[in-house]
Amino acid sequence: MKRREFLKISAICAAGASLSSLLPSASFPAWAGAQPIKAREASYYEKLAMNKVKCLLCPRECRVGNKERGYCGVRENREGTYYTLAYGNPCSVHADPIEKKPFFHFLPGTKAFSFSTAGCNLNCRFCQNWEISQARPENVQSVSMSPKEAAAEARRSGCRSLVGTYAEPTVYYEYMLDVAKEGRKAGLKTAIVSSGFIKPEPLREICRHLDAVKIDLKAFDEDFYRRICVGELKPVLESLETVRKAGVHLEIVNLVIPTLNDSAVKIKEMCEWIKKHLGSEVPVHFTRFYPIYKLNNLPNTPVKTLKAAQSTALQAGISFAYVGNVPGDVGENTVCPDCKKVIIERMSYVVTKMAIKGGRCGFCGRAIPGVWS
């Protein structure tokens, strides 16, 4: 398969990833083309009796028999050794605006070299990228791209950062870690967009090599996590605290889904928890839900619900609260909490005005949390 064909497929797979391909010319790097799935020994697992293994990467802690895979579908036990099948074989690669992740306080207005392999350790009923997140590596088109090649390609395509996104970086942990290391060597920043459903130890390790983390806090409700995501809330809250303690820039996204997690009471509880445990300076995005995958029966989130959530967050003492997935809405702008002036103005994924100087408000000089250069 030619790289251009791959990118075309990739654009379909990564729903919502609507940008043009990152390669403008017809030059095909050596790593282009479909590749057989290669196995590489996984990190974070324990060998058990009778050739079984216990995965220690995510809170699910799958016990995996010989020739079987963990819940994520990308880690396989072969005769008592656990392998990842998601290393160096991304199935989706794009140069996206960083605002699309969304990151609003991390290199605004720049392009992010965004990539993902197949697989996920959750099964959210509203997944926007289910075609790849719920697939196994062998069931999607992918290319071979080493961490070094990813960094080189990011630079070549004018990106300032490498971002593991779309499906779930936790399941391609080893690859993400090596990409982050190569990115740093190449002078690039690195970030992940994750569910945060990962154990503390691997998260702490990867945080040492990351510049930013965006975590989807899908709801402030254990029952929602169990029923809608086949996961748990508690480990996600632990991950948020782990990232914060690691000193890595953190942003939170809460996809507000009508009737499922849009309770004003729960949103208030969530905002109060964020303020108490993470502080007031972590940006929080309330994004709009569109019907997809297994939740085709629900309507779009009303904009007024998002606005109400934003107000709740601001009232709870969160300094930076946003409305997302509503192109052109003023709720996407960054407002200085002190002088109340707009310091970053956005129109969808485009930054139209930027008034931050040296990480401070260009009007009153207040420090604005984030990674700005």
Binding site: M50, N51, K52, R60, C62, R63, G65, N66, K67, E68, R69, G70, Y71, C72, G73, N123, W130, Q134, A135, R136, E138, N139, R227, V230, Y293, K294
Partner: protein, 290 residues
């Protein structure tokens, strides 16, 4: 089984034939004609996870194919399949990608140009893309192996359906309950399944579903029927009995009783009954006497 562990073609053919006879009440091709017609396109889902040592025996499938042919089904309208072509080869099957007069087609879902449906099928909480091979058929024969399963308790007819979808890994939480029952309610599987023949010539009572030399034994039986729950319930009895004989804890005591069987039989799923009378079992000794 022969003394050296090899499978005797003739005896296996007799066992499969006798199973269909018991099931339909008709002998020979008349029995097969009660289940299949010349218009059918039949897919045979085998279980080849454990290579040649603990997979569906090709001899059992050959006997099924002979029966289908006797009912008038064209050899080229029969597809033997599992997840991957490589697994089929490792279990001793001969791969055939194009229609032949003598033999059925045989390949994995991973074959180029086959793959999985693009749209997921909802079955309970999990959505899965089904093997396109299922959609090519009018009838499905499920041919699992008698197996202990370290997470889900046992692996039989119901669990064999996980080899027909793209994401079996999503079905193992909570020891497969209710997920394994759920996937079997997917219309393309449920509506097409016409016959289930469990290969219990050998089985594994501990350390399954992969091959574990200490847990494998010659059971010497074929269990057949049209009710996957009843067959699996019988498989559960056999495995529990063997475990007791070997001084092992019961599956219940090990915390891996296959509760998904109960779920499969409930009013929401209606996949069958836990009544062991809803299946037939044919022992090797029965056909040796013929």
């Amino acid at each position: 089984m022969k003394k050296d562990g090899a499978v005797d073609d003739t005896l296996v053919r007799r066992m499969v034939s006798l199973s269909v006879e018991k099931l339909t009440g008709e002998k020979g091709e008349q029995g097969w004609k009660r289940l299949f017609s010349a218009d059918d396109r039949v897919t045979i889902k085998v279980n080849c996870l454990s290579g040649r040592r603990l997979s569906t025996h090709p001899q059992v499938v050959n006997a099924i194919v002979e029966g289908l042919k006797s009912a008038g089904v064209e050899p080229g309208h029969i597809i033997i399949f599992d997840r991957t072509t490589e697994e089929l080869i490792s279990a001793g099957f001969t791969i055939r990608r194009t229609g032949e007069k003598e033999g059925p087609l045989c390949f994995g879902t991973d074959e180029p140009g086959i793959g999985y449906e693009q749209e997921p099928t909802m079955a309970g909480e999990v959505a899965s893309c089904l093997s396109r091979i299922i959609g090519m058929s009018t009838a499905l024969i499920n041919v699992p192996v008698l197996k202990d399963h370290d997470v889900c308790g046992i692996s039989g007819c119901l669990k064999n359906s996980l080899g027909s979808i793209d994401n079996p890994n999503k079905y193992h939480p909570n020891a497969g309950n209710p997920y394994i029952a759920d996937i079997n309610t997917a219309a393309p599987i449920r509506d097409r399944t016409r016959l289930l023949i469990m290969d219990a010539l050998e089985g594994i009572f501990d350390g399954g579903p992969s091959y574990n030399p200490g847990g494998v034994w010659n059971y010497g039986s074929i269990i057949a029927g049209t009710d996957p729950v009843a067959i699996d319930a019988r498989a559960l009895d056999i495995i529990e009995s063997k475990r007791k004989k070997e001084g092992l804890k019961s599956l219940k005591d090990e915390g891996r009783y296959p509760q998904y069987l109960i779920t499969a039989a409930d009013g929401d799923h209606q996949l069958g009954s836990m009544d062991r009378r809803d299946m037939i079992e044919t022992d090797l000794e029965e056909v040796k006497e013929q």
